[in-house]
Symmetry: C2
Subunit: 161 residues, 2 copies
DNA sequence: AAGAAATAGGACCTCAGGGGTCCGCTTTCC
DNA sequence: GGAAAGCGGACCCCTGAGGTCCTATTTCTT
């Protein structure tokens, strides 16, 4: 049920990039070592996270001296689901993804085969409706335990009761 | 992002119990070896699943010869979330559960601290709104790829776009 | 032109936890 | 009293996440 730690780190790194003005286009860049120092995450790990984010098209790397990374897209256009997929693979609670064949021995007699699809869809939709920006927005004043601003309130209203 | 295999097995076992008439109350019981044969899951594993389900109050065991298990509650009163919690622990995508303190070194500077709470709530609500019965209901005719009956359709409508 | 600084892309190691099995005890029916 | 079942726990194995490091490549600076 947990997602990988790298996904968690990725959100932090993306938030930091935005906070530091490493915006899409001609913006400034941030180095991996710099981000490691700023976030408290070990430097090799930050480098790994940035490489994966680059592969997913969420950040773009600038090579060479004075290089670094900047956001490829503004965070309010990046669904959380996309980050999760980049690090954890397809979003699905069970191994039998969307009626996928093979892999499961008991497929022929399994009484719940295919039944998980709506559940997976529900999770996917929830995670697609939340942007990374909603998780990354800096807080003023600090340490509001349960901020009720519009961006995060949207996450709650994604689910009807 | 995946839940444990035992959770998956649990849903199958619960479905089988209902299908075989091991209903709450004075109903018939099913033995662990019998369920193993019926579901194709290894017998020791089925036994383990049933023990955990018993601990969670979802099935009740009848000891002694001619003993077995029966459902403690009808499946339409059991939210999927409850099964998941029994096997996977609290439902949360990240280690920092609901602003939980401790555990995370970077807590002081983490820009997304507490921000995951609405996401976790969304997942929890989605999984609480789906009953095990919706996953277990036998299908006639077999192999409808995407059944649109009321029980599972509810899962999709849990999420607004 | 040489060197420094940075990303890119792997290979590699370690280890915690899930997954599965087994054993001994207790309970209850025949 | 014996057999059949659940109950509770200990135990092992092995995958895969998590993390580190090395090398190649690129590009700026001097």
């Amino acid at each position: 049920m947990r997602l990988s730690k790298l996904t968690d780190y990725a959100v932090v790194v993306l938030a930091r990039l935005e906070q530091d003005g490493a915006a899409p286009g001609k913006g400034q860049v941030q180095t991996a070592p710099g981000l490691a120092a700023a976030t408290g995450i070990a430097e090799p790990t930050v480098a790994k996270v940035l490489k994966i984010l680059g592969g997913a098209g969420l950040v773009e790397g600038v090579r060479g001296a004075r290089g670094g990374y900047r956001l490829a897209r503004t965070l309010d256009t990046v669904p959380l689901a996309q980050v999760i997929v980049a690090f954890d693979g397809p979003i699905a609670l069970t191994a039998c993804v969307d009626g996928g064949m093979g892999g499961c021995d008991a497929e022929a007699i399994c009484p719940v085969r295919g039944r998980w699809d709506p559940v997976n869809d529900a999770i996917r939709n929830a995670l697609s409706g939340i942007t990374v920006a909603a998780l990354a927005k800096p807080r003023f004043p600090w340490d509001l335990p349960y901020p009720a601003n519009t961006d995060t309130a949207a996450a709650s209203t994604l689910v009807a009761e």
